[in-house]
């Protein structure tokens, strides 16, 4: 088996890469995420149908 200059890994690479991956994964949530949730919540509140009286319209007519 003849090899033509295969690449060799660098000592310390696993720890360095794992640490960077960890840092990237643990970024705090952005302000925008909370803003989207808030706006969606307020829009849905406004869309909710008006609550009806337990008494029907017909009762009112009586």
């Amino acid at each position: 088996m003849t090899l033509q200059n295969p690449k060799i890994g660098k000592k310390g690479a696993p720890a360095k890469i794992a640490e960077k991956a960890n840092r990237l994964r643990r970024q705090p949530l952005s302000k925008k995420i909370f803003e989207i949730v808030d706006e969606n919540y307020k829009n849905n509140l406004n869309k909710e149908p008006l609550k009806r009286s337990a008494k029907s319209d017909q009762d009112m007519d009586l």
């Binding site: 088996m1 003849t2 090899l3 033509q4 295969p6 690449k7 060799i8 890994g9 660098k10 000592k11 310390g12 690479a13 696993p14 720890a15 360095k16 890469i17 794992a18 640490e19 960077k20 991956a21 960890n22 990237l24 994964r25 643990r26 970024q27 705090p28 949530l29 952005s30 925008k32 995420i33 909370f34 803003e35 989207i36 949730v37 808030d38 706006e39 969606n40 919540y41 829009n43 849905n44």
Partner: protein, 263 residues
């Protein structure tokens, strides 16, 4: 039948097998174990690979390893993004279906944390959502949007995923010095005994119940001239033990070796 070794056998194997200096094949799970610090094999794998690099042993893999690596890290990143969201969000502001899923998720996390504390494990268990669970969250998060048309899912993707998966792969490929073998003539001359064919890979899926990606990796290794495959996956190691012939074999973390020997 092939042989099985633990990480601690590497020094002896280097002395006994000069062929080892020409390279070893590496499985996806080992790359995950070495790049994800919550993996139960992280510490041992990191030390083992540093030893491999010190001894200037090149590592080889095929394209299936790349595809699987991207897929598993994608699941890890999305799980942590969703868990991070679940930990801080005011559940009362979420639509009922998403709120219910987040509550269930928080309960699962509490159970896992409680179990980890009770069992005092060296490597605590971590939650990893399945593909179906991630899709469920995606569908519900797509429905949470603002008047500008921006939605929760894409914002979470942009923030937490962005180009992180591809950059993680590039750094791993460079840092670990990964060499690729395929079916080019040059690869066949240098690294393969014969061309890895689909029939053999399919037989591994049927007889061993391997996933297609694992079957392609095992099949490539069995067709290769390399003596050893490094893996932390029980299934992959067992498939090689059952299908390979000496001198080929597997190196696994000691805890995996004990599990396989106890079967």
């Amino acid at each position: 039948m092939s042989q099985l070794w633990g990480y601690s056998d590497l020094y002896n194997l280097i002395d006994q097998r000069p062929n080892l200096k020409l390279g070893m094949m590496i499985d996806t799970n080992l790359l995950i174990a070495a790049t994800y610090d919550s993996d139960e094999n992280y510490e041992k794998t990191k030390e083992f690979l540093d030893l491999v690099f010190e001894n200037e042993i090149p590592l080889y893999c095929n394209v299936n390893v790349k595809a699987e690596f991207l897929e598993i890290h994608r699941r890890i990143i999305f799980t942590e993004a969703i868990v991070g969201f679940a930990e801080v969000i005011e559940i009362g502001k979420l639509p009922p279906t998403l709120a219910s899923k987040i509550t269930t998720l928080n309960n699962r996390i509490t159970r896992i944390e409680k179990k980890n504390t009770e069992e005092n494990l060296n490597s605590p268990k971590v939650l990893r959502l399945s593909e179906a669970e991630i899709k469920d969250f995606k569908l519900e998060m797509l429905r949470v949007s603002n008047s500008g048309g921006e939605n929760l899912w894409y914002e979470l993707c942009e923030l937490r995923v962005g180009d992180k998966i591809s950059s993680l792969w590039e750094e791993t490929k460079e840092g670990f010095g990964l060499n690729f073998i395929g079916t080019r003539k040059e690869d066949q001359d240098n690294h393969l005994k014969h061309e890895p064919d689909w029939n053999r890979a399919t037989a591994l899926m049927e007889k061993q119940g391997l996933s297609s990606a694992d079957a392609m990796i095992v099949n490539m290794f069995l067709a290769s001239k390399f003596d050893l495959l490094i893996t932390s996956d029980n299934e992959v190691a067992i498939a090689i033990l059952k299908n390979g012939n000496i001198p080929q074999g597997c190196i696994v973390p000691e805890r995996v070796k004990i599990i396989i020997q106890g079967m």
